[in-house]
């Protein structure tokens, strides 16, 4: 046989081998596959403060749970709670007969152990506890005492606050980091293959009970590429994807009769802090002009493909306590007038605008603003970089930019303005470098009253926000929604803006 013929024969044999190797493992009827782009980084609930809450919120429960639709807190591991008049002592009554997945009982002592560990470690969202001291006077009562009045009922509902067993806490972070977990939630960890998959199995003793049609097993498959995620969804290999799908793909997905795209409310929004200390945005009129150069409608309708709304206030309307304000509108004529009135020389009409992480939406918003700003004579220099790099630069005035839009959401149900607008000696998220004693006073007042007098707290914060808007310390660009593409035969997609997850224990397939 000649060499060429041998080569062709070998190639054909290899193709034949490909046919023989096709493996379609039979999918059990009660196994659902969810695709996500990012693996769990922190398995320890005392540290976890990122994307892994998508998975961990199905393994662990909080003490209370927020129901955004109803606008109220609901019992979870705690069935009732009360606060002293001064807002500094909280008493939680625990749900009886609840066990951790290891079989350990969930008692007040267990909750005390979890809280003591979390507060001592002070990582993740546990700063919210305000270094509380914890007592367990009996098996079903937990008492938390703080030096300042804090809304610990709301803090307890935070998606990053997850109750785990004392024995898990004793084993420590190294144990958790091997992919171990011990919560009270509806699913427990069966397997973790790093960067490949997480397999969760039904917790048969889940205190919330089961209807009978839920999945016995959930496989979370880690898939980095969006195109691969969508192929898996289209083929039916995946039932749902958590991953961030580009907004302009939503219409294409909707054309597929086998795919549905849920568009749900979110607490995520896009503020654009304007640096009040860096020229030329240290000029109030100049800043006001910038707020009128942003085309808010085009951002929501086109850049976000209709999956965002024009902000009606400085916090998203989906957030409990959000109020409507008189927000700046897109008006280039007004912007030009204000620029002329500002007194800033025309050759200084130049600002820097940050885009981080290569996020397309942020880049498109910047380009839109740049184009509109050029029409009124303002030059916008778009500065791109990784989040960590740009954040670090923004904290220091000498390296900061004039405008730094960033995706923001609160840790719990609060419209508190502190993180962005309270005076910070060492800037953390006050990217405007804004400092106003009245605003500080109102923020402080609102914070102190949040636990005991929500109405008065809201009024204090309203004044703070109004001043921030009057000072044009930020433009509020969009309130965004979440999109959750899934197979059309998957039902029970339960979400809540308070939790950036899908609750697995209601998911089920219908039909074939």
């Amino acid at each position: 046989m000649k060499t060429g013929t041998r080569v062709i024969a070998t190639a054909l044999a290899l193709c034949g081998a490909g046919f023989a190797l096709q493996l379609l493992p039979a999918k059990a009827e009660t196994t659902l596959t969810i695709v996500d782009g990012i693996d769990v980084k922190d398995w320890d609930p005392a540290i976890s403060y990122g994307h892994e809450s998508y998975v961990l919120n199905n393994i662990y429960d909080p003490l209370t749970r927020y129901n955004t639709k109803e606008g109220k807190l609901e019992p979870a591991l705690a069935t009732s709670w009360s606060v002293s008049e001064d807002g500094k002592t909280w008493t939680f009554k625990l749900r009886p007969n609840v066990k951790f997945q290891s079989g350990e009982p969930m008692t007040a002592q267990a909750v005390k152990a979890f809280l003591d560990r979390n507060i001592k470690m002070n990582e993740g969202a546990n700063y919210l506890w305000g270094k509380a001291t914890v007592e367990a006077p009996d098996a079903s009562t937990v008492v938390l005492k703080t030096t300042d009045a804090l809304p610990l009922d709301l803090v307890s509902s935070c998606s990053y606050i997850m109750v785990y067993s004392p024995s898990a806490g004793e084993k420590g972070t190294d144990w958790f980091q091997k992919g171990n977990a011990d919560g009270t939630g509806p699913y427990k960890v069966a397997q973790w293959v790093p960067n490949q998959q997480i397999v969760l199995e039904k917790n048969k003793d889940y205190w919330g009970g089961w209807k009978g049609n839920e999945a016995d097993r959930i496989i979370v498959r880690i898939v980095s590429e969006v195109s691969t995620q969508l192929q898996m969804l289209r083929s039916g290999e995946a039932d749902l994807t958590f991953a961030t799908i580009p907004f302009d793909l939503v219409d294409t997905l909707r054309k597929d009769p086998n795919i549905k795209v849920e568009v749900v409310d979110s607490w995520q929004y896009l503020p654009g802090p304007i640096n009040v200390k860096k020229p030329p945005t240290d000029n109030l009129k100049f800043r006001e002009a910038l707020t009128h150069i942003m085309d808010y409608e085009t951002v929501s309708k086109q850049i976000y493909a209709g999956l965002a709304t024009v902000p009606q206030g400085p916090t998203p309307m989906a957030l409990a306590g959000a109020m409507k304000y008189n927000m700046p509108k897109f008006d280039l004529e007004l912007a030009k007038k204000q620029l002329d009135e500002s007194g800033v020389p025309k050759d200084k009409w130049e600002i820097t605008w940050v885009v981080y992480g290569g996020v397309d939406v942020l880049k498109n918003v910047a380009l839109l603003f740049q184009a509109n700003a050029a029409k009124v004579g303002v030059k916008v220099d778009i500065v791109q970089g990784d989040w960590g790099v740009m954040w670090d630069k923004q904290k220091h005035l000498e390296t900061s930019a004039n405008v730094f839009p960033f995706r923001q959401w609160p840790d719990y149900t609060t419209v508190q303005p502190a993180s962005m607008f309270e005076t910070q000696e060492k800037v953390s998220f006050n990217f405007s470098h804004y400092s106003n004693p009245d605003v500080d006073k109102w923020i402080d007042e609102g914070t102190k009253l949040e636990a005991s007098n929500k109405k008065a707290s809201a009024e204090a914060w309203r004044k703070a926000y109004q001043k921030v808007i009057d000072d044009a310390a930020a433009m509020f660009i969009a309130d965004t929604k979440r999109i959750i593409p899934h197979r059309a035969n998957l039902e029970g997609i339960h979400t809540d803006p308070a939790y950036e997850t899908v609750f697995f224990h209601e998911l089920h397939r219908v039909g074939s």
Binding site: Y160, V223, D392
Partner: protein, 338 residues
């Protein structure tokens, strides 16, 4: 020979220290701090300060460097800021995935590329040669990610023959446990006698393997062709034909041997390149290898991971080159007798 090997090992150690120093300096002088990335979406100043102190990032750069060298000497590569796992563990899990993929790719490149190069050289300037050369140029010109996606669309999307991504199917990963002996799934599953796991691992590796092979095969094929065309014009080759030796013997036993030295260099360099350069295939196919890990580490200032992988890749690359240099002695009797 022993002296030569010892000299090369000393050179390897010196080069590694240089690589370590350059990597350390580059990762530490670039703007931005990794602490902001590793602590979650809104860490407090107190948490940032505590983490910065714990990681020693508030020390002067020279002290950080000394601390770093001391830890490396003890085999301590620290914890990845992005995965929160020991860097050595991360590398261990990922390195063998890349080794499996790239080793098979190199074997495929050699087994397919060299014969193609020989055929092309033998039929130099014929229509077949032109077709082969055009296809090899196309193979190099087509971006790796596009080739990967086209293969996915064809073999998974349209034909449904091969899996889309990953190293193994979910069910197989869950239900077929085989002991990790080498970290190479194909080998470990065979050693455990688990044919179902072996078939699944093989099915999953085929598309990323095809991507790497098709993208890198042209270089070996063209190099073989060009070298062999020159050798085939030599007098001794003409003499061998005149003596009536079979064509196959002349091409593969005499002519091809003369091209082995430069060909070994190309193959060695390709292997070294693939170890770090398989990142595109790893991304598209979610192959849990070292390429994607190191790219994320560099982009997000994950110093320990970036440095750890750099050390391994540099060691691997230098070792491969050392092996290639030693193979010259095996292949070329003139070097052995000199």
């Amino acid at each position: 020979m022993t002296r030569y090997v010892a000299q090369r090992f000393l050179l390897l150690a010196g080069t590694l220290i240089g690589v370590l120093t350059v990597t350390f300096v580059l990762t530490h002088i670039l703007p931005g701090s990794p602490v902001e990335v590793m602590l979650g979406h809104r860490p407090t100043q107190e948490q940032i300060a505590a983490a910065t102190h714990r990681l020693g990032l508030d020390l002067p750069l020279w002290r950080q460097y000394l601390r770093f060298l001391a830890e490396i000497a003890q085999g301590q590569f620290g914890q990845s800021f992005l995965t929160n796992q020991p860097v050595l563990q991360d590398i261990g899990q990922r390195l063998m995935a890349t080794v499996e993929l790239t080793s098979l790719a190199v074997i495929a490149i050699v087994v397919i590329g060299i014969p193609i190069g020989v055929i092309s050289a033998v039929k130099a300037n014929s229509p077949l040669d032109h077709v082969v050369r055009s296809l090899t140029v196309a193979g190099v010109a087509l971006p790796g990610f596009m080739l990967a996606m086209l293969l996915q669309m064809a073999f998974y999307g349209k034909l449904g023959l091969l899996p889309l991504q990953g190293r193994m199917a979910s069910d197989i990963l869950l239900d077929h446990h085989f002991p990790t002996v080498t970290g190479l799934f194909l080998v470990d599953s065979l050693l455990a006698g688990d044919l179902m796991a072996f078939r699944d691992a093989l099915a999953h590796i085929l598309l990323p393997l095809a991507t790497l092979t098709l993208a890198n095969l042209p270089l070996v094929a063209r190099t073989t062709r060009n070298l062999l065309v020159e050798v085939l014009s030599e007098d001794y080759v003409r003499t061998a034909f005149a003596y009536g030796l079979k064509r196959r013997d002349v091409y593969f036993r005499y002519a091809l041997k003369a091209t082995l030295i430069p060909l070994l260099t190309v193959v060695g360099l390709t292997y070294g390149y693939l170890l770090g350069g398989a990142v595109v295939a790893e991304y598209v196919f979610d192959w849990p290898g070292i390429g994607g890990y190191v790219v994320r580490a560099i982009v997000q200032s994950d110093y320990p991971a970036a440095i750890g992988v750099t050390v391994f890749l540099a060691t691997a690359y230098l070792t491969i080159n050392l092996i290639i240099d030693l193979l010259y002695y095996v292949v070329d009797p003139r070097l052995r007798h000199s």
